[in-house]
């Protein structure tokens, strides 16, 4: 009886030892939703956004089917390692820190970070002086976290959240003075929504390069070099034939 129990509990952990072909004809993407306009659900519940449309177009170009699996940012890399999906396409910035454990495609877009504060806030500029002693919100483990931590970690309180939702709630509750995140995301979740009145503070942030890297890339497990190569080729094709520009303009207007 006891043996049976041990075996069944072990079996729990060792579930699903399926063999998987290395040449994918079905690609599963891990994605952290909502992150409007990059990845979000329409009120009807349909998953859409720049990453989603581009990802689907890439799959179509490569002649594979694809599937999107939602995963919070905190656990998005472990999820890839756990093979819950085969790639991450979720506004992930390419940088050297991440290259230690991930393989990246060529960058497919670059997006600046920006500061957002309540409309009534006195903040006009975001620098060491104006932010001193204030509470800054970021999503844990993002590029924006690294930037805020390195630049203001010693003079301001950096509050880190598992999800963007948590962060927005604390922003609305006035626990945070300012948040730092991807510009396009702040624009749709804070400026163009009814969450309250918010404004952009100061300039867009794209430097330093060792944090903001070369832009967003699709991340793979390190041994999946063949898959990454196929995505790079497909991306180049989409950029040539105008499909990429068409999707880009739909979300961000003329370049």
């Amino acid at each position: 009886m006891k043996k049976l129990l041990t075996v069944s509990i072990l079996g729990l952990a060792l579930a699903a030892g399926t063999t998987q072909a290395r040449d994918y004809d079905h690609v599963r993407f891990g994605v952290d939703v909502p992150y409007e306009p990059m990845e979000y659900r329409t009120p009807e519940g349909e998953l859409t956004g720049f990453d989603i449309e581009l990802g689907n177009a890439l799959c179509a170009e490569m002649g594979v089917t694809c599937e999107w699996i939602e995963q919070e940012w905190d656990g998005i890399v472990p999820g890839l390692m756990a093979r819950n999906y085969d790639a991450i396409m979720s506004s992930m910035t390419i940088n050297d820190e991440r290259r230690q454990s991930l393989l990246f495609s060529d960058p497919y877009i670059t997006m600046p970070g920006a500061w957002f504060a309540p409309a009534g806030s006195d903040l006009e500029e975001a620098n060491e002086e104006t932010l001193a002693g204030l509470s800054i919100g970021v999503q844990r483990g993002t590029t924006y976290d690294s930037y805020a931590t390195d630049a203001f970690g010693s003079t301001a309180n950096v509050n880190r959240y598992s999800t963007a939702d948590d962060m927005m709630l604390d922003m609305e509750a006035q626990r945070l003075d300012i948040v730092f995140l991807e510009f396009a995301v702040g624009q749709s979740t804070l400026l163009d929504s009814d969450a309250g009145d918010f404004k952009v503070v100061g300039e867009m942030v794209t430097e330093p390069a060792e944090i903001f890297g070369e832009g967003f890339g699709i991340a793979f497990r390190q041994r999946d070099t063949a898959l990454a190569e196929r995505f790079n080729e497909a991306l180049a094709t989409l950029k040539e034939d105008g499909t990429y520009d068409e999707i880009y303009e739909r979300y961000f207007g003329e370049e």
């Binding site: 230690q100 483990g141 931590t149 880190r160 509750a173 006035q174 626990r175």
Partner: protein, 241 residues
């Protein structure tokens, strides 16, 4: 100076344990210690009168205290933390009161949750110890003509607190470990520092094993402190040779 050099050399070539991340861990130790120490202190102060009243003969004194300890001991601390952290925000107009500058920080909601939790456990520990007072001690006190108050102060409480010491030591360690959930509401305690380091470098072993080692050291420090206290305060209970 030499120490600084030695330190820098030690860290050279190490991508994860930079002076910056070590600084986070150190701040984490400070935050954890403050949080645990303050909540234990306030919890202890609350628990002494509560544990006495918990043994009262009046139902209307006894029952509410029992209900309080039952609820706080019967539900996860994480839920209590969520209720207080998210709950205060939705109290109408709280943002305009003088309390808001405190409640706005994650530290104070966490402190309130931890304090209420440990006070509930400590109340029950003391209550149990008071109930276990030897009849002989009480009779002796009565024989001396002591009033109830004086007997409580001079006889029952001192002996009950000593008897409660081992159980209270466990509660202190329990609180230290329970405080790890503070990172869930953005506090950068030891676990918060580890989660930050993990999320930035994707190095789970370095990040969490280092945190585990710190907690282990703190646990041993508490353990030895209570052993020392027990040796001093419970000396009269040891067999004499």
């Amino acid at each position: 100076m030499e120490l600084v050099n030695w330190f820098n050399e030690l860290l050279a070539g190490n991508l994860i344990f930079t002076p910056q991340t070590l600084g986070y861990y150190w701040n984490g130790v400070v935050t954890t210690t403050q949080l645990v120490f303050l909540s234990l202190l306030v919890g202890l102060v609350m628990a002494v009168p509560l544990s006495i009243l918990r043994g009262s003969k009046h139902r209307w004194i006894k029952l509410p205290i029992y209900a309080y300890t039952y609820v706080f001991r019967g539900t996860p601390l994480l839920i209590q933390l969520y209720i207080i952290y998210y709950g205060v925000v939705f109290v109408d107009g709280i943002q305009q009161t003088f309390l808001w500058p405190l409640l706005r920080e994650a530290f104070y909601p966490a402190l309130i949750a931890f304090t209420l939790n440990t006070a509930a456990y400590t109340t029950e520990i003391f209550h149990g110890a008071i109930k276990a007072t030897a009849r002989g001690e009480i009779e002796a006190a009565r024989a001396y003509g002591m009033s109830d108050r004086m007997m409580m102060r001079r006889i029952i409480l001192p002996s009950a607190f000593r008897r409660a010491l081992p159980a209270y030591g466990n509660e202190v360690i329990f609180m230290l470990h329970a405080s790890a959930i503070a990172s869930v509401v953005t506090l950068m305690d030891i676990t918060g520092a580890a989660r930050f380091v993990y999320a930035r470098y994707y190095a789970p072993f370095e990040a969490f094993l280092f945190a585990a080692a710190i907690y282990l050291c703190l646990t041993f420090a508490i353990l030895y402190f209570f052993r020392f206290l027990e040796r001093r305060l419970l000396a009269h209970l040891r067999p004499q040779n």
